[in-house]
């Protein structure tokens, strides 16, 4: 019996691995996700057969409640809200690991009066610590992303010292708890410290850095599951936790690289505050405006167009009219592509999902490295709701806070039209010198309204 269960766990692990492998190709990704889900089902069934039939009722009740909530969220969530949802789910994962590890620890030390060995004890303490930190950290990230609390960094004096002291406190609490296992107060203290520390490490990080934070918390939720695997001596938890942990770390690295920041720099927080001070002193940018008729004529006359979408496009709900624009252009035989910066949107790959939702074919969405050399032989670049990712200051102004960040070479195109509500600054809080360039034209107004007008002008041509 036991060997059959272990074998089922092995099958589940293999299905998770094949599932992720299939994510390498957009065509097979959906099958991959379904295989992964099948693996989960196998793991769950192999676990359910181990429990006493008397416990099945409450297990079923919990599963029904959880499934209903999960399904409700997955159907209701808007694609723009995906970062919040992922943040929330990271938090749930962390809290679940904390609860499983402490349930096991509590059962053994408090209810059965046993002594837990150093390996399981350490694993349980790690699981509780990482899980607790992931939970509250994710909740803060969730609240920042959906605007319930300000996205601005919250800093106070001695913040890093407080965090360091709490970290030391957590280690001490864990060690003392493992030495006095009959006394539950220390393990409760560990839980409390982890929860407080989770809040404190995320509040100083600004809204623009949230893609890094949710990637990192994603990794932590995997590590929490992994350490829980050590507590329960269960390989499938370790394998899956390691896969998720690795995934989160890779995404974190990609995000940091795309912003030219070190992970340490992001975690210490406060980005965007100093930037706004130095940004104010730049000289006034003189811009040229373009009307919708003229913009429509420029599109009509072009042979190649590249759209640079930013999160502002999704805020204005302009992705569907941009698809209409692409249809108008393709009807005229104009090459029409999208240049996707790694930090476009608010989480890794977010922009691709937003455009896919608007029925834009995924082979039109080109990554930065692939498309950056094409800008110089492109007639028209259309920047919608993006700002810092096309700011040439990142290339040629060492004083700029975004200097060194890889950008899309939109300025190299023959003509650049920038759709913008006003002359406001981007996330980094700095002026964009591209707007003053000779080949740059500003199309002021709400992106959805102005592009709709451009499309109707083109239809009449």
């Amino acid at each position: 019996m036991n060997i059959a269960i272990q074998f089922a766990y092995l099958i589940a692990s293999v299905l998770f691995i094949i599932g992720i492998k299939k994510m390498n190709k957009t065509k097979e990704a959906r099958t991959g996700n379904q295989l992964s889900a099948l693996g989960m089902l196998v793991a769950i069934l192999a676990t359910v057969v181990q429990v006493q039939s008397i416990s099945l009722v409450e297990i079923l009740i919990c599963v029904v409640i959880g499934s209903a909530i999960g399904l409700y969220i997955s159907v209701k969530v808007e694609m723009t809200q995906m970062p919040e949802m992922v943040a929330l789910f990271n938090g749930f994962g962390g809290l679940a690991s904390l609860a499983v590890a402490s349930s096991d620890y509590w059962l053994k030390t408090q209810e059965l009066g046993q002594h837990v060995g150093p390996i399981i004890g350490t694993s349980a303490a790690l699981s509780i610590f990482i899980g607790g930190l992931t939970f509250t950290g994710s909740i803060i990230a969730f609240l920042k992303l959906n605007g319930k609390i300000s996205g601005k960094p919250i800093m106070f004096k001695g913040q890093h010292l407080v965090n360091l002291l709490l970290l030391i406190g957590a280690v001490v609490a864990a060690v003392v708890a493992l030495m006095n296992q009959a006394d539950s107060i220390y393990i409760i203290a560990l839980v409390a410290i982890a929860l407080v520390l989770g809040i404190l490490v995320v509040i100083p990080i600004g809204g623009a850095d949230m893609p890094v934070v949710i990637s990192l918390l994603n990794s932590y939720s995997g590590m929490a599951a992994c350490t829980t695997g050590f507590v329960l001596n269960n390989n499938v938890l370790i394998v899956s936790g390691a896969l998720v942990g690795a995934s989160g770390i890779i995404l974190t690295q990609i995000m940091c690289k795309a912003m030219n920041r070190s992970l340490m720099n992001v975690l210490l927080g406060g980005f965007g505050q100093t930037a706004s001070e130095s940004g104010g002193e730049g000289e006034e940018v003189v811009v040229k405006e373009v009307g919708v008729e003229e913009a429509a004529m420029l599109f009509d006359a072009a042979t190649s167009v590249i759209v640079v979408p930013g999160y502002g496009m999704a805020v204005a709900q302009a992705q569907h009219v941009i698809r209409e624009l692409s249809e108008q252009c393709e009807k005229r035989g104009i090459e029409f592509r999208f240049a996707i910066h790694p930090v476009a949107g608010r989480m890794p790959g977010h922009m691709n999902v937003l455009l896919a939702e608007a029925n834009i074919s995924y082979d039109k969405l080109i990554e930065m490295e692939q498309i950056n050399d094409d800008f110089s032989n492109t007639d028209l670049v259309f920047v919608v709701g993006a700002n810092d990712v096309v700011n040439p200051a990142a290339r040629n102004n060492p004083q700029s806070p975004i200097y060194g960040m890889p950008i899309l070479n939109a300025d190299k195109a023959r003509t650049v039209i920038i759709s913008k509500r006003s002359m406001g600054v981007g996330y980094a809080g700095i002026q964009n010198e591209l707007f003053g360039y000779d080949n740059a034209l500003m199309l002021f107004g709400d992106a959805k309204q102005t592009i709709t007008k451009v499309v109707s002008e083109m239809k009449e041509m």
Binding site: R30, G66, S67, A96, W106
Partner: protein, 96 residues
Amino acid sequence: MSLESLIILLYVLVLASYLGFELISKVPPTLHTPLMSGSNAISGITIVGAILACNELGYGTVSKWLGMLALILATINVVGGYAVTDRMLKMFKKKK
């Protein structure tokens, strides 16, 4: 737990992490959001531990309640994570 079983678990951890890095670095940036929500669902594997934790003693115990809390949360992750990932991946279409 004996040191031997710890070593085996560490082997599993190291090899799985290495495999994870290899596989995930090949996922195209287009799919990074579904990758994240999908790995959210995979981290719901704690559901296995949660089910076992629910199988303990009577209702009066802290362990049982913690297990049930964990089970609800892990189920939300598993069901919600896979469902929303499927919903997203369904949208990725290529025009013929």
